[in-house]
Subunit: 433 residues, 2 copies
């Protein structure tokens, strides 16, 4: 394949490798071959040159937790207590979803994520073959799981069966952009023996696991009542933490939980805005980072956020803990940027180098407009990116070296069609309709 | 003057008057004459028609606290304890500022605020004649004050003298878009007798006051030590709260403080992101709202935020308190939107109807792109605006009926020139230079 040479005004190869002056990234077959300051020193014969002197190139952001098609439920219920939100708004609307709806909702999510600089995302939902088709078409990288609940025999069997079939059909598909993980929803919807079965399936398939753990205080209290232990320790007891696990939320943790998560190398998806909006609380991210646990950042679904803008989350991760702990040094710009990129990639069991622009990494690259007021002045480029810039500054997005957004215009998606189909579905999903 | 008819796809006249279908706003001489659903029923002879069927029109946002020219210090110091941030980064750079620098820094702030949907902002800084020139040229509405500190005789006299001269020169200037208030910095920089002098000057000029109050725990503790009372109650004792007062921050309050603020109709500028980033804490906004106190939203200066995007703040105001109080009904979308618009206008002692699009209000109008994924679907338009949309969705901005942003392009500002001048100043302000 043709080599592509990207010339940018500045580069952030990773949080600790910032080039605040012009430089380049060279890739081929979706993998970065070389990066450097100044002008590319080698011959350019046959190369495609993408010249963006007024942009900074950063690694694409990794969204470590979400439910993509829940874009269809954006704004369907807000400012409600959790139980009313679930039972009066979310569950009734979800009961109306079909594979076709999930396909269009996932495409809407992909559009929004591309437009805001995300190159890789996780998903846990249902009708996942339809979601995977959308990811394949979008050009994004997706780490997908069929959400499993084990409340009765039928749901238990279909969850395991769907997951296995989904893994066999889609893991490694779309030139490796799609990877399949197992998605047991949570200990409060999956009883211990079911979690043990999921752990066995995970081992049999070699598939990592994503799961919601310790999101709300009530969940932890009920787990203590029913099982005599915390959700984290229950997951360990079921053999789940011995598998590679990405745990979403982890808002309410004990010290024993943290120690265990460290031992088992559990990765955490921190969803600061969703945790605030659903009144779950504030995850102890500083403690997790101090323990050496890998923490990534997620948006959660658009019904509880209500957008998929990871720049917002990354900024909130960098400011929220300072305020809550009353410590202005808590979660630095470097830490927040790493969470949204390299640590995010580690959270999703990503490829070598993913989440950086170092040679060998996949060419998942986002360009931000340096002409935006958010980059004036620029004493510290990483600070501008973390504390000032936003989704509105994203101009170009590449995944595996392929342009998904070019000068703010989606390349792979027919956004007029998505808009039309979502409006049609909206009429069907509207409460009372 | 010509009448202007804006035809929009949807309208939010105020938080409690949402028109989720096409409608219009008619204005003349900067003041709204009529609004309504559907097509304007009257004759259109001689009218200028602005047709935006794919946009929602909302009242322009009001930024109730900031230091505009501190855009020049964006990112000059982050992730530092407050004292190190001030003494090692902010004060040395501020010592290098000139009137010319403040002019360009304020223009940069105006550009950023226009681009993100703010139509009226407050400012407390120095070299304020230069700041006012920038506001005049930008077309924005500014509520400006010369920051006063009373640490020695010279600073006391010059603060009062500058403020009086600034008031006389600029209050009501730029067709009334500029209003001048008095800006005693804070009780910890203005001793009680100086605050009393400021109160007297406020009464003599008929000028309201803006001041920082109870921002940090340390400030309150030191005030208790030195004066035996809280900053709020000290301000009362000095006669300041008997004047119209906009108090910024109010993070650390006692019940007596809140009761007194209610009695005195003190207005509060809530700066959620700055309070988090500087580790000041979380203001008791729910308590303030329950007490019936008028609360607006502010960005604070770009050195402690680090941008002037009020959509971010409005969303944070709507989510932060839910999470911290673990109550998903705390600060609803309606409340947050009102804080950023109508209550913000009341905070800045604004004109009749300001912060709404009702007849008689100034034609300060922002258009958001309904084609953005943030508006798909739209079960509740206000929810989409508060919880999903952002600065990147702003396409057009009018202040007093005049277009300041048209299809994302600034109309009144020479942004190339601003960029050039800020880059020049950046070289001078850079730490160590």
């Amino acid at each position: 394949m043709t080599q592509v040479l990207l010339e940018a005004g500045s580069l952030v190869l990773s949080a600790d490798a910032v080039i605040p002056e012009p430089g380049y990234v060279l890739w081929q077959d979706g993998v970065i071959l070389a990066t450097g300051r100044g002008v590319y020193p080698g011959p350019r014969d046959g190369m495609e040159v993408v010249s963006r002197p007024r942009a900074v190139a950063i690694p694409g952001l990794v969204n470590t937790h979400g439910h993509a098609a829940m874009t269809l439920l954006r704004g369907i219920g807000d400012d409600l207590p959790l139980q009313a939100w679930l039972t009066e708004r979310i569950y009734p609307a979800e009961a109306k979803l079909t594979g076709e709806a999930v396909y269009w909702g996932t495409l809407l999510a992909c559009w929004e994520m591309i437009q805001s600089g995300t190159t890789c995302f996780t998903d846990m939902y249902f009708f996942m073959h339809d979601a995977a088709r959308a990811v394949e078409e979008s050009g994004l990288r997706g780490v997908l799981s069929w959400g499993m609940v084990g409340l009765d025999e039928q749901s238990r069997a279909s969850g395991l069966g769907n997951s296995r079939a989904f893994f066999e059909r889609w893991n490694g598909a779309a030139d490796g952009r799609i990877r399949v993980t197992l998605g047991p929803h949570a200990p409060y919807t999956c009883p211990p023996d079911y979690l043990a079965q999921v752990a066995d399936l995970s081992a049999a398939l070699g598939a990592p696991v994503q799961i919601h753990l310790s999101e709300t205080r009530r969940e932890v209290e009920e787990c203590l009542e029913q099982h005599g232990t915390t959700p984290i320790q229950l997951a360990e007891r079921c053999g789940l933490l011995q598998r590679p696990v990405l745990a979403a939320h982890c808002v309410h943790l004990t010290e024993e939980d943290v120690a265990l998560m460290r031992t088992r190398d559990v990765r955490v998806a921190h969803n600061p805005q969703s945790n605030l909006k659903l009144a779950s609380g504030v995850a102890p991210v500083v403690k997790l980072l101090e323990a050496g646990i890998t923490v990534g950042i997620g948006t959660d679904g658009a019904a509880s956020n209500n957008n998929l803008d990871l720049f917002e989350e990354l900024r909130l991760a960098a400011t929220l803990h300072k305020g809550v702990l009353q410590d202005a040094t808590a979660v630095t710009a470097t830490e927040a940027f790493t969470m949204a990129t390299a640590s995010g990639a580690r959270c999703v069991f990503g490829e070598n180098g993913q989440g950086t622009l170092h040679p060998g990494a996949p060419a998942d690259i986002v360009l931000l407009n340096l002409d935006s007021p958010h980059f004036l002045p620029t004493y510290d480029l990483l600070s501008n990116i973390v504390y000032a810039a936003g989704a509105g500054d994203v101009t170009d997005v590449f995944v595996a070296g392929r342009a998904l957004l070019r000068n703010r215009e989606p390349v792979t998606l027919d956004v007029e069609r998505i808009r039309h189909e979502v409006r049609r579905l909206e009429a069907r999903l509207r409460p009372g309709s």
